[in-house]
Structure formats: structure tokens, C-alpha cells
């Protein structure tokens, strides 16, 4: 092929490529759609420990204070409520949930708030990714039968 023929071939390929490219451009321009997604907030809570061993406490005596750290693993600021169950031992041995008290700062047993069987707000505006300490303490009623007692203390975040 002579020089003129080569030149014509190259030009023709280039034009074809440009024509094809134009086609895609036209197609792409004709098929673009704007899409967007809104992700809602989510709650999450975690506790540093799942147990609170108050140890051996004599009848009519108070336990030592125990601290549990509550963390907000959710995606937004949250409030935390607290509630509990009655203390249960073997057989009919039991005593009321209110013998356990809680507070947001360390202090005497008398200064804390008695736990109840219904959720009560305990922590306010815990930042997402943040945490707060819950100070727990209990007292054994006078005359209570010697036994091992258990109680569930439930922390709940609400978003």
C-alpha cells in the first residue's frame, strides 16, 4: 500500500474510533441516574463485666461498692435505663430488689438510689462510642437467712 493509502487507512480508523466513542458518550449521557441512600441511627450497649460479686455479707450489713462500666456502642447519643429482679436464694429465700442501690458517682449506700423492677433512667446522653460508670452496692436485710442469692441487673440503651 502506498503512502496515500496508508494515510487514508489511519484516518479512517481514527474516524471510526471517534464515531464509536461518540456513540458511548451519547449512550452514557442518556443513561445517567442520581442515586442516594439514608442510613438510620442504631443503639448498642456493652458492659465491661457481666457479673457483680458482692462477696460475703452479714445479715443487716452493707456490701462494698462495685463499679461497672456501661459503653454506648450505638451510632448516636443514647440514654441508659436500669432495672433489676428480686434477690433469689434457695427455696423460699428471697429479698427485695430495692436492697440494691445504684449511683453515677461513688458514695455511701444511703446516698444511692434503690433499684426497682421497672426501667428507670440511670444515664443521660451517653455519646456514641462513649461510656459511663455505674456504682452498685447492696445491703442484706436484718434477719435474712444465710444463703447464696442472685439478682439480674439490666442496663438498656434507648435511641
Amino acid at each position: 500500500m502506498d503512502k496515500t493509502g496508508k494515510t487514508n487507512l489511519v484516518v479512517g480508523v481514527v474516524v471510526a474510533m471517534l464515531m464509536i466513542l461518540a456513540t458511548f458518550v451519547v449512550l452514557a449521557d442518556a443513561s445517567v441516574v442520581d442515586a442516594s441512600v439514608t442510613v438510620p441511627s442504631s443503639c448498642g450497649i456493652s458492659l465491661d463485666q457481666s457479673t457483680a460479686a458482692f462477696g460475703s455479707v452479714g445479715t443487716g450489713a452493707e456490701s462494698s461498692e462495685i463499679t461497672r462500666t456501661v459503653s454506648n456502642t450505638g451510632s448516636t447519643t443514647a440514654n441508659v435505663t436500669i432495672e433489676g429482679s428480686a434477690w433469689d436464694g434457695s427455696g423460699a429465700n428471697t429479698f427485695v430488689v430495692g436492697q440494691t442501690k445504684y449511683a453515677l458517682s461513688t458514695g455511701s449506700y444511703a446516698s444511692k438510689t434503690a433499684l426497682t423492677g421497672s426501667p428507670v433512667q440511670h444515664m443521660t446522653d451517653v455519646a456514641n462510642g462513649g461510656s459511663d460508670d455505674s456504682f452498685l452496692q447492696m445491703a442484706v436485710p436484718s434477719g435474712q437467712a444465710a444463703d447464696t442469692y442472685n439478682q439480674n441487673i439490666t442496663y438498656t440503651t434507648v435511641c
Partner: protein, 269 residues
């Protein structure tokens, strides 16, 4: 071709975590020592209970009060008692106070302890009245009053009595009011005037009344017995002889008088 992509995310509205509390309830006792005794939480410091209790009272001549010393018996406590002298008294104790030697006019204890020695004494036979008409004053050998009690007394009276009656003419005492301290002794010099027509077989009583100006008194008695029987018979015989002599004198004298009177009448012209 249009592609639409849809992403769905479900929201988590609440989340919970549970802490399980455990406690071992034991019947707690305190330290079981003097400073911490009992059942928790009622631990008692027994040193705060040690001390004096009750009212003052007299004991062994002193003013005393009960002292309690507490001790722990494990979960309970008890105490030992002792008398603690609050005042040592020199002159004894009465009405929860020490008595002072003031010379009289103070109260006495309900218990009066005296001892009278001897408890009987005989008439000195040689001073018996020689006739029923005569009276005689008998001075007896001294009686001793020994204060063996715990108090001092400040007024002692004593008299002669016959059947608990202080008879006119019988009563007489010297040194009728004197003081006798605790542990001291005093001599009583008793003078009894025996009236006429005494009965030699009777016994007479020396009665000592211990008083202290108030209504407290106690009587002690010592029996004054008559002479022995032999002496009594001798005295009776002597009396009888005297009576006979007297009667004889009266009769002879009367007869002589009558003779003289008749002689005088016969001489009248």
C-alpha cells in the same frame, strides 16, 4: 439500560446488657471482744457500759454503790458486780451518808446493835429493907453498855422497870443522857428506889432505851434477880421476929399502962 440500586438498613432502637449480681449472706457476729460484741450491725463497745449502777447505800459502815464490769460471751454479753466504796466513813453510815460526830440530833439506822453486860444481877442481900415499911435506895454495881454496832449514838436513857412499867418510886437513873460512839463502852450507874412491901421473889428489869432524838429506839433488858432462897428465908425470919418483938412491946406497954391507970384511979379520994 437503567440500573437502580436500593439499599435497606433496619434501625436498632434499643439494646440491653445484664449484670448478674451474687451475694453470700452470712450471720455476721462482731469481734467477740470487749470493744465489739454482739451480732452485726449491732456491735457494742462494752467498755462504754462498765460503770456504777443503782443508788448509793450503806454497807459495812461505808457508803457504797454497785459497779458493773461487762464481758463478751460470743454473741451476747453479761456483767459481774462488785461493791465500790464511794465514801469511807469514820463514824459509820446511815441513810446513804457518812455520819459525823455532831453531838446528837441525827437519824439512826434501823438496826441498833448494843450489848448489855451483865444480863442479870442480884440484889446485894445486905441492903434488903429491914421492914416492909421501909424503902431503900439501892445502888447497883455498874452495868456496861457496849456499842458493837456500826453507828454512834448520842442519847441513852435507862430506868428500872417492873413488868414494863416504870413505877413511881422505882424509876431513877443517874447520868441519864450520854453519848456512846461506835465501838465504845459506857458504864451505867443505876439507882433504884425499892418501895415498901416489895416482893422478894419478883424479878425486876433494867431497861435501857437507845434513842437518837428521833423515833428510833431499842430496849435492852437485864434482869435484876432477887437474892438466893436462903437469904430470903433469913430475911423473912428476921422480919417475923421483928414483928413479934414489936407486937410484944405493944402488948406489954399497954398492960403496964393499964396497971398504972388502975393504980391512979384507986388513989382518987
Amino acid at each position: 439500560m437503567i440500573i437502580v440500586l436500593v439499599i435497606c438498613i433496619l434501625p436498632v432502637l434499643a439494646d440491653s446488657g445484664v449484670v448478674v449480681g451474687t451475694v453470700i449472706v452470712v450471720n455476721a457476729t462482731c469481734d467477740s471482744n470487749k470493744t465489739s460484741c454482739g451480732i452485726y450491725p449491732n456491735c457494742t463497745d462494752l467498755t462504754t457500759l462498765d460503770g456504777l449502777y443503782g443508788d448509793l447505800y450503806c454497807s459495812d459502815g461505808n457508803v457504797v454503790q454497785i459497779y458493773r464490769e461487762y464481758y463478751c460471751t460470743g454473741t451476747t454479753y453479761d456483767y459481774n458486780i462488785s461493791e465500790q466504796i464511794q465514801q469511807n466513813c469514820t463514824y459509820g453510815c446511815v441513810d446513804e451518808t457518812c455520819k459525823s460526830y455532831t453531838g446528837g440530833g441525827i437519824n439512826v439506822n434501823d438496826i441498833i446493835d448494843f450489848e448489855l453486860t451483865p444480863r442479870e444481877i442480884k440484889y446485894p442481900s445486905n441492903i434488903f429493907p429491914s421492914s416492909p415499911e421501909e424503902t431503900v435506895t439501892i445502888i447497883f454495881p455498874s452495868f456496861m453498855i457496849n456499842n458493837i454496832g456500826k453507828d454512834s449514838y448520842f442519847q441513852i436513857t435507862y430506868s428500872c422497870y417492873n413488868d414494863d412499867n416504870c413505877m413511881n418510886g422505882w424509876c431513877g437513873a443517874s447520868d441519864n443522857n450520854f453519848q456512846i460512839l461506835q465501838g465504845d463502852s459506857k458504864a451505867i450507874n443505876l439507882i433504884c428506889t425499892i418501895p415498901e412491901n416489895i416482893k422478894y421473889s419478883e424479878q425486876y428489869t433494867l431497861k435501857v432505851l437507845v434513842t437518837n432524838g428521833a423515833d428510833r429506839q431499842k430496849s435492852l433488858q437485864a434482869t435484876l434477880i432477887t437474892a438466893d432462897e436462903k437469904t430470903i428465908l433469913q430475911v423473912l425470919a428476921s422480919r417475923e421476929r421483928n414483928e413479934k418483938i414489936k407486937n410484944t412491946v405493944y402488948i406489954v406497954g399497954g398492960f403496964i399502962g393499964l396497971v398504972i391507970l388502975l393504980w391512979w384511979i384507986s388513989k382518987i379520994p
